[in-house]
């Protein structure tokens, strides 16, 4: 009898109901575990993407601005034309812009066809501008402007690089001096003010694009789509002093080349005004750098060294 049953089952090639149910149960268990694990892994990947988006996009832009500002080209500035910040808006959004000259290596080289080599500029015009995002009309695009070396128009032209395309507001304010009840101004023109601001406050508001779902945002607490980054950049006072007093760098060995001493001695005495650079005798005025940096009055009447021809 048993022998007959086995023969029938073998001929049918089938499983019993309990075997099928058991294998289905195991299959479902495995599939559920694997799928839920995959889903969680995907959420974790998305969450990490969101973290990267929230903690790198804004801070990276702020850091770039700060690095540019820390290299303000304060030496040999003609007519104090170094920095220009304007208070602008694009519809309801703040879209301030600023431009300046910085001692930064250019990001793109210039090809010198004579020497057949690529040349990077040690000095560039830099600017930060915004415009309406043509695809996402609620947002602004933030661009960094860079122009090779410095020309007659230091606040115009150049090449633009997109930094971020979902900016909501970009607000910049300036303070002329430190005080307890600090007075912020919306614009700054170093030519008009004949000097640099004491500090600038930058406020950048962006909206990050969550890759996927609210659930993924909840995993790491990175659940904020709109983020505001604020920073204050205080220009070091010695940098402001160089700019305000129009200091020209002194090159070792410049005397041997027959360059003028300018008003350097007068400045070094410290009592009188800081006559910087002399009256255009030589190119490399050396005054001022050894002068009294504690607030000697500036006399620009003596001419600046940059006008003397051949200045660095």
């Amino acid at each position: 009898m048993i022998h007959g049953n086995r023969k029938r089952r073998a001929a049918a090639g089938a499983f019993t109901l309990i075997e099928v149910l058991l294998s289905m149960g195991i299959g479902i268990l495995i599939m559920t575990s694997v799928l839920s694990s995959l889903d969680y892994t995907q959420r974790a990947v998305d969450a990490i993407h969101n973290v990267i988006e929230t903690e790198t996009a804004g801070p990276r832009v702020m850091q770039l601005i700060r690095e540019d500002l820390s290299r303000l080209a304060v030496y040999d500035v003609r007519e104090y034309r170094l920095y220009q910040g304007k208070n602008l808006s694009e519809g309801p959004n703040d879209a301030d812009r600023f431009d300046f000259v910085a001692y930064r290596r250019s990001t793109r080289p210039f090809h010198d066809f004579v020497r057949e080599e690529s040349v990077w500029a040690p000095l560039v015009e830099v600017g930060y501008r915004l415009r309406r995002n043509p695809q996402l009309y609620d947002f602004l695009e933030l661009y960094r402007r860079e122009d090779f070396l410095q020309d007659e128009e230091p606040f115009k032209d150049g090449e633009f690089t997109l930094l971020y395309d979902r900016v909501l507001n970009f607000d910049v304010r300036y303070a002329a001096r430190p005080e307890s009840d600090i007075r912020w101004e919306d614009e700054w023109d170093s030519e008009e003010r004949e000097g640099l601001f004491f500090a600038m406050e930058i406020r950048l508001e962006i909206e990050v694009q969550p890759r996927r779902s609210k659930e993924s945002l909840g995993i790491l607490g990175a659940n904020r789509a709109r983020l505001t980054f604020e920073d204050v950049y205080a220009v070091p006072e010695d940098i402001r002093w160089v700019m305000r007093n129009r200091i020209h760098p002194y090159l070792p060995g410049a005397d041997e080349a027959g360059t003028g001493d300018g008003g350097g001695d007068a400045a070094q005495e410290g009592d009188g005004p800081n006559v910087i650079g002399g009256g255009g005798g030589g190119g490399l005025g050396r005054g001022g750098a050894g002068g009294d940096r504690r607030g000697g009055r500036t006399d620009r009447g003596g001419g600046d060294g940059s006008g003397g021809g051949g200045g660095p």
Partner: protein, 186 residues
């Protein structure tokens, strides 16, 4: 011998084999899930550390611009203004600050001795009315740990800041840098 023949003839698994397979699967899945949780908690710690470093730098920039009022050794607060109330800070002022390494770690013996000496020197300077150009500032930002709700990690930032900015001494600034004042708006 007959049993083996029967088993081979049925061509299936025994219960013990299935249970062993399921057990292996369960163990490996548990390990994978633990790995996932571990990577998420590490990502969370990395994110929090990154935020803490950014907030500490922002605070330092505010101190450099003399934008933090009534600063003293042990000044405390949190970053609820930036929607991050779980992130707290303590500011230590001066070489001999008791808040030089945050609350979570203790000073080594030699460092303690050095800081003690610096503290005495600083007190002596104050008595002698000697002003130092720069003041050492320690910023400790405590941020939540992923390991437990009660545990905190710390990020410590140390920097030299102009003394007039730390003390908000406008007269000292005038004395040093009044010549830097730009022209008024025309």
């Amino acid at each position: 011998m007959p049993a083996r023949v029967r088993s081979a003839g049925r061509n299936g698994f025994s219960l013990i084999e299935v249970m062993a397979a399921v057990m292996l699967l369960a163990v490996s899945l548990t390990l994978l899930l633990q790995l996932r949780n571990d990577s998420i908690s590490r990502a969370m710690d990395a994110r929090n550390l990154s935020i803490a470093a950014r907030l500490a730098n922002q605070l330092l920039h505010r101190i450099e611009a003399a934008r933090v009022s009534d600063l003293f050794d042990g000044y405390q607060g949190d970053f609820s203004d930036y929607d991050l109330p779980d992130f707290r800070y303590v500011i230590g002022i001066g070489d001999g600050s008791a808040f030089a390494t945050g609350a979570g770690s203790s000073l080594s013996e030699s460092e303690f001795a050095w800081r003690r000496q610096q503290q005495e020197q600083s007190e002596q300077d104050k008595e002698d009315d000697v002003a130092t150009e720069n003041t050492r500032v320690f910023l400790t930002v405590a941020y939540p740990s992923s390991r437990s709700a009660n545990e905190e990690n710390e990020f410590v930032l140390e920097s030299l800041v102009p003394t007039w900015a730390v003390e908000q001494d406008w007269e000292a600034w005038e004395e040093l840098w009044a010549g830097n004042l730009p022209l008024d708006v025309k």
